[in-house]
């Protein structure tokens, strides 16, 4: 039972990576107006880290592992916004980054309260 779940999650991650390889060569990403292929490589590396977080989110034996994966993804999105703002030259991506950093902090605190098994008003 456990091994079948591992195999399914591994296949899902593999499919995600293949889809990323295909998408990085397709004309859809040219809509993002990359200034150099270097930044699209950065984009790809961050996507691989996201896939690893998703793997931990699926596999995680305890709820705490899943909470850690979600917190990590929240911080990675901030870096993602920074790279988007370098590559497109638009400053307002960093507004999203600041808002996301604060929001993911509050989300992590709420998850921690849930893990402790208390109400939110204590």
């Amino acid at each position: 039972m456990l091994t079948s779940r591992n195999i399914i999650s591994g296949l899902f991650i593999l499919a995600l990576l293949v889809a990323l390889f295909v998408a990085s060569a397709s004309p859809i990403t040219s809509l993002l107006d990359w200034q150099s292929p270097f930044l699209s490589r950065c984009f790809f590396i961050l996507m691989v880290s996201f896939a690893m977080c998703l793997f931990r989110l699926m596999r995680g034996p305890t709820p705490a592992d899943r909470a850690v994966a979600i917190d990590t993804m929240g911080i990675l999105i901030v870096g993602f916004c920074a790279i988007l703002s370098i590559s497109t030259g638009r400053g307002w991506y960093l507004d999203i980054a600041i808002a996301w950093a604060l929001q993911s902090f509050i989300g992590a605190l709420a998850l921690a309260k849930y893990l402790e098994g208390r109400g939110f008003d204590e």
């Binding site: 690893m52 901030v78 950093a101």
Partner: protein, 107 residues
């Protein structure tokens, strides 16, 4: 010149990000995973933002990146601390080969 220094910081940050995520997969229990992700991912993202600050200079974008670094350095350790405390209270055990657990003894 600024671009070269900035892109160096971006590449360094990406390297630390991906190492933190490898740690998230390889290490054996929740607390060790939190060690890897808190240090490597937080500092990696701060390094990417610092690269943005150097590339853009002290314009609107650069100052926002600087503020974002401040917020991350203040909030990420607190969130990790809360998560680890929640994990310990919810009953997640340490790894089998751990040396000692003074927190369990004192509780």
């Amino acid at each position: 010149m600024n671009n070269i220094i900035g892109y160096t910081f971006v590449v360094l940050g990406l390297m630390f990000d991906i190492i933190g995520c490898i740690g998230l997969i390889r290490l054996p229990d929740v607390y060790n995973r939190l060690q890897a992700t808190t240090k490597c991912v937080t500092m990696g993202t701060c390094s990417i933002l610092f690269g943005t600050l150097i590339i853009k200079g002290f314009t609107a974008t650069g100052l926002k990146a600087f503020l974002c670094i401040l917020f991350l350095l203040l909030t990420a350790p607190v969130a990790a601390h809360a998560l680890s405390r929640g994990a310990h209270i919810s009953g997640v055990k340490l790894w089998d080969k751990s040396v000692c657990d003074k927190y369990e003894e004192d509780k």
